[in-house]
Amino acid sequence: MITSHKRLYYIILLLSIILSSCTRFESVRDPYTLYIHISAEPGHLNPITSNEAIASSINAYIYETLLDRDYDTLELKPQLATKWEISSDKLHYRFYLKKNIYWSDGKPFTADDIIYSFNVIKDPKVANAPLKVYYIDVKSVKKITPYIVEFTYARPYFLALEICGSIPIVPKHIFDDGTDFNTHKNNRFPVGTGPYKFVTWNTGKTIELVVNDRYWGPKPDIKRIVYKIIPEPNVALQMLKKGELDVMALRPIQWVRQTNSKHFQESFYKFMYYQPYYNYIGWNARNPLFKDKNVRKALTMLINRQAILDSLLFGLGTVVTGPFYIHDKYYNHDIQPLPYNPVKAKEILHRAGFSDSNGDGILDKNGVAFKFTLTIASASKFAERLATILKEDFAKVGIQMDINRYEWAVFVNKVDKRDFDAVTLGWSLSWEGDPYQLWHSSQVKAGSNFCYFVNAEADEIIEKARKEFDVDKRIAMYRRFHEIIHDEQPYTFLYCTPALVAVSKRFDNVIVHKRGLNYTEWKVKQ
């Protein structure tokens, strides 16, 4: 038997061994490495098959396209192409490629890569349906010389240049090896021509990039980028404060309550900037309750959008009135949002035939009570809070609204099947868009026009604008379109909410462009 003395001795020995290994380490950090927070891990980094925003943001530094968008003017400018020519019938787009561009593994970039990428996009066996739909009108891509390609478009379309110019290009010599493109090993080991090249992917932890020595453009100051995957926002904020992260997208509550200390202000910039996005409540016009546009207007007037923005979102955002990005040239700033006016709304409903004829506290018309269900996705906390507030507000005027919350997969399914009365969602827009997919009557059954918006004048405008290459004429058309939408209220438009980003002050030249932040221009402070 071990005597009690010896036992004590062993315990002390064990404890000291354990304690000695408990040194707090400070990570030895290289000042030329940028640590960026991402809240979810992308599935893979293949720009053709991936649909995820997070993958695109990482790929933006690895892969390049023929044309890029200027960070300030948002105009198209050359990236892998030096110049382009458009035929007079607007159906042929010829791009002249830069010479002496190399993939990060040393092989030259040529027209073959573009032809290959185009064929892959059209290949029915490749899982990239959204991209296929986007490129549906690109009939062919021809290689004229190793450094000249020509796209043929099916019809004149003002976005054709952008669509052709932004085609995702993957290296043929890597992907064209007989293995299945959908599960190719380089989906998790991208090789591109951009300023950074991929180094390693520690599943669940980090994705690391390093400067591409073969890059054709100016070398960025930051030598390494490490994307850290941290799903928990509280943990991420702690790490930011400890200096383990340099860039983090903050949630509104963190922006307002948890990043105001003196120390934080001294160590971090806080940037708030808008991106093309808006959220809304969509009213299913097939539902007899919402057929009448006056009813939809009244509903909008029952929602105190500004107050909700101020309290639920801490005022971080803007109320919007129409189907464009608020800082877009097409947005019609002359249109004022419908005011919050429950009294007037009640009048409108009354005139539309709604009254409480049976004294049960709920409005009705022709024997049908004003009851409906708002469908929300469980992933969106904002939608849930909005829904509970609306339920209370609507009840006060005699409208009964129930809430149906679904997990995302089921939610999308319901929206796709048009199985909803009203729905809360957001649209993430591109910098230059065309309202066709969301608002044209042809998209009602099988496209994204799931609220059954049908308006002859709107249809006409959309169709004509697609063929209009004069920007000013288009602006006038789309502004009129915005007016129509405002009058019809197929959605109650809610807000455009900004990105809220904290950046460590150890970098200089951190500028917020219209497009956002550009890591390649940052300089490390000495």
Binding site: L312, T388, K396
Partner: protein, 321 residues
């Protein structure tokens, strides 16, 4: 049978902790029933324009849309003058104060009102779900135990199949299929939880069917279901009761966990698990949103477990030899 249960009750009473548990259970029950009387934004009595409105005001529709706190007139409000869904965007996430005894949540809703109505969700889910699965378990277990043979083999395999499913996964999938609602949560817990009861009942039936009184009934020509339900089952109830009581506790836990993950009741129905999950955003300063609902879940589960323990001890012949 009467004599048996009164003996059990006497033994139960001797266990002080179990009695405390029972009292808490009854107390929570009362709160659940009386919640609209204790917390409501409509007054008990209102004298408005010289008319008396009594007793409970929520039947009068001519007041729909009125904010009672602003009405001119004599009014007596319930002790907590808020409903569980009434929000106030100016009173968001406030600590406990005179106006809101337990503080408010992120939409300015009174926490005390939500907690009180939350008892309804817990108790309702607990009892209904357990009732469902006890019923299913008894029927299946009785069939397997009484008939034995092939019936038993098939039923035992079914029991194994259901037991093999990770419960949570099954619940999530079924909720995805049928939609999230209080009713579906109860049904789903009910149809995944019956295996324990079925095994108990099956075991008891195996023990009891060889007994004399069963042979006697058979000799007298009694039909099978008569024997099962009138004779054997009452004797098998004891362990079922114990398991059911513990089952209520664990059902409440499952429902809280589901609501915590975002898969429980639809908003704005208050559920303690849901309140806890909302508290995560404010965890660094809103201690009332974290401590109070968690504590409530804890006390509820503890009391049901105490009652179950007490019942188990009271029914156990060995202890009182």
């Amino acid at each position: 049978m009467k004599g048996y249960w009164s003996i059990v009750w006497k033994r139960f009473k001797q266990n002080k902790l179990a009695v405390v548990g029972l009292c808490i259970v009854i107390f929570l029950f009362m709160i659940a029933i009386c919640a609209p009387l204790i917390a409501n934004n409509k007054p008990y009595i209102l004298i408005y324009k010289n008319k008396l409105y009594f007793p409970i005001l929520f039947e009068y529709n001519e007041f729909s849309g009125f904010d009672f706190k602003k009405i001119e007139g004599f009014k007596i409000f319930p002790p907590i003058p808020y409903s569980y869904s009434e929000y106030d965007l100016n009173a968001v996430v406030l600590p406990p104060s005179a106006k809101h005894i337990l503080g408010t949540d992120e939409q300015g809703r009174d926490l005390a009102a939500r907690m009180l109505y939350g008892t309804r969700v817990s108790i309702f889910v607990g009892f209904v779900a357990v009732f469902i699965y006890v019923t299913i378990g008894i029927i299946i277990g009785a069939l397997a135990g009484f008939y034995g043979g092939w019936v038993d083999i098939i039923i035992s395999r079914i029991i194994e199949i259901v037991m093999c499913f990770p419960t949570f996964f099954l619940i999530l999938t079924i909720l995805a299929l049928w939609g999230q609602s209080l009713l579906n949560v109860m049904i789903v817990i009910g149809i995944t939880g019956w295996t324990g009861i079925a095994r108990i009942v099956r075991g008891e039936f195996f023990k009891l069917r060889e007994q004399d009184f069963v042979m006697a009934s058979k000799a007298l020509g009694a039909r099978d279901y008569w024997i099962i339900f009138k004779h054997i089952l009452p004797n098998a109830m004891a362990p079922v009761m114990v398991s059911a009581t513990f089952g209520i506790a664990s059902t409440i836990l499952i429902e809280s966990s589901l609501s915590f993950l975002g898969f429980g009741v639809q908003p704005p129905t208050p559920s303690w698990g849901d309140i806890l999950s909302q508290s995560r955003d404010f965890i660094d300063f809103a201690w009332w949103l974290t401590l109070i609902p968690g504590f409530a879940i804890f006390i509820t589960i503890t009391s049901y477990n105490l009652v179950g323990e007490g019942l188990q001890d009271a029914l156990d012949p060995k202890q009182y030899r």
